[in-house]
Amino acid sequence: MMIDTTAPTNSIEEAQAELIEEFGFFEDWMDRYQYLIDLGKKLADFPEDWRIQDYKIEGCQSQVWIKPAFDDGRLYFQGYSDSAIVSGLIAVITRVYSGRQPQEISSTPPEFIGAIGFTEHLSPTRSNGLHAMLEKIYSYARQPQEN
């Protein structure tokens, strides 16, 4: 199995703006949660043998892995969690950051997180987990890349 390395057609800023707009359609937070969960359900298959310590995110209540792939100057990510809510968070994070150049990733703060309202609506432990996932993405972007 390989990580899908189809380059995104939008910019990283556009990806953030699109997510803010999509979540903005829902006034009720239960609907936003439902949308997040539904995005998570569409994550690509993440094989058992990718669920190794190297890709694991510590600091989450649930089990989370994010695997990187480097192709043609861009970093791609695929992730998995046994939690439906965390799967949704992986989906939104990868929509913004997957398929970008490493320096683009490093220089883009996750403004969509606050703009959507995740910061105030997620429990502190969830927020810590979200932060840990972003840190992992940034650390992949800081490492020297090999194809």
Binding site: W29, M30, Y33, Q34, I37, Q61, S62, Q63, D82, S83, A84, I85, L122, S123, T125, R126
Partner: protein, 413 residues
């Protein structure tokens, strides 16, 4: 619990109305608080007692020569009397105020265990203990070379006493078993466990953090040597709890911490210690906490612990029935004797997701390992969702919980 009948008057609405925290809305929904095994809410009288103490009586205890110090000392020592009576201790000298059950067990491990245990000695605990009844013993084992042994549980989360019997020998020095499991609700047969331990000359400790809110505890009848509980789980404040131990054991033990309050005479060449229980209470104690604890224990005794147990049993039976009807739910912890704790997993949804989403419906439950990771491992789960009931809960609370659980599950799968 063995179901005693509810004596009149028992009016759950009247009880509930005494809890200001239960009168609020959360996320626009009426709060249904089902996280009582983590901590209970506080009745107005406990809040008032603490408020009164700080408003009027605040002073340092003992050796005071003025009116406020006198009142503070009376409040603090009065709470000790109430606690002694609550546990049916022989004397209030047998009650040591601590921060909570965790501190009490550490005090026993270090104050009793450390000077007495040596390599080759054994300590026995149960498989479904809270971490506070595991880690202090692991630390003691590291310090002394003693070995930790574990009583296994069956698939209903009941301790296997025949296996326990096999673990007991003249090497056994300490047996420490929780009275009620916080994670799974099992009520352990402490009296029998104590008798079996005493037959080989071991001392017996029971962690009563989950038992004291739900059932009448009589330390003399249980036959244990040490018993500990936390105030905040029995409608009292956080940061205060009590250790009960037989007077002769406390007399024989060395202090655990040094400082003010715990001494008789201090010179630069050495010090002599205060009498029990004060030699274990170094520093200015949690006076307001003790006053609040005393009030909480009076409050719960006024309702009657038999009434509490009977009502919670009824709620547990109803909750178990409603939850069992639920497709895809597995209840973890199905002991024949159980306190009002419903721990469960879905086969297709993560406990943390259930906990987060059900909160949006105003239902407070807990999701996680409940500080009992070995218990989780025994049942092959990383985490459970846990609804735990208190005297102020109602069948309507359980209905609201089940209804929200259905909505939660529909969102997740």
């Amino acid at each position: 619990m063995n179901a005693p009948a509810i004596t009149t008057p028992f009016d759950v609405d009247a009880i509930r109305s005494q809890f200001p925290a239960l009168q609020q809305q959360v996320h626009g929904k009426p709060l249904v608080y089902l996280d009582n095994a983590a901590t209970s809410q506080k009745p107005q009288c406990v809040i008032d007692a603490i408020d009164h103490y700080y408003s009027l009586d605040n002073s340092n205890v003992h050796r005071g020569v003025h009116a406020l110090s006198e009142r503070a000392t009376q409040g603090y020592e009065g709470a000790r009397e109430i606690t002694a009576q609550f546990l049916n201790a022989n004397s209030s000298k047998e009650i040591v105020f601590v921060r909570g059950t965790t501190e009490a067990i550490n005090l026993i491990a270090q104050g009793y265990g450390r000077p007495r245990l040596k390599a080759g000695d054994e300590i026995i605990i149960g498989h479904i203990e809270h971490h506070s009844n595991i880690v202090p013993w692991q630390m003691l084992c590291e310090q002394t070379g003693a070995e930790l042994k574990v009583i296994p549980v069956n698939d209903d989360a009941e301790l296997q006493l025949d296996e326990y019997q096999k673990l007991l020998s003249d090497k056994t020095k300490i047996v420490s078993v929780g009275h009620v499991s916080n994670a799974l609700g099992t009520i352990n047969p402490i009296k029998q466990i104590a008798e079996m331990a005493h037959a080989v000359g071991a001392v017996v400790i029971s962690d009563g953090a989950q038992a004291t809110p739900h059932t009448k505890v009589d330390v003399q009848d249980l036959g244990v040597d040490f018993y500990a509980f936390s105030g905040h789980k029995v409608y009292g404040p956080t940061g205060i709890g009590a250790l009960w131990a037989k007077a002769e054991l406390l007399e024989a033990m060395s202090p655990y911490q040094g400082g003010g309050e715990m001494i008789k005479v201090v010179s630069l060449d050495g010090s002599t210690y205060n009498s029990i229980p004060h030699k274990f209470e170094a520093g200015t104690p949690n006076i307001a906490g003790a006053v609040g604890l005393g009030e909480a224990l009076k409050w719960v005794q006024n309702i009657g612990l038999d009434n509490v147990a009977a009502w919670e049993n009824e709620l547990l039976a109803y909750g178990t029935e409603r939850l069992s009807e639920f497709d895809g739910v597995r209840i973890i912890g199905t002991a024949a004797r159980k306190a009002s704790i419903l721990s469960f997993v879905f086969d297709d949804a993560h406990a943390a997701d259930v906990g987060s989403l059900i909160d949006r419906f105003g239902i407070a439950i807990r999701a996680g390992h409940h500080c009992a990771m070995p218990a989780m491992e025994r049942f092959g789960v990383g985490a459970t969702a846990r609804a735990s009931l208190a005297v102020y809960n109602t069948k309507a609370d359980i209905d609201a919980f089940i209804e929200a659980l259905e909505k939660t599950r529909n969102m997740l799968v």
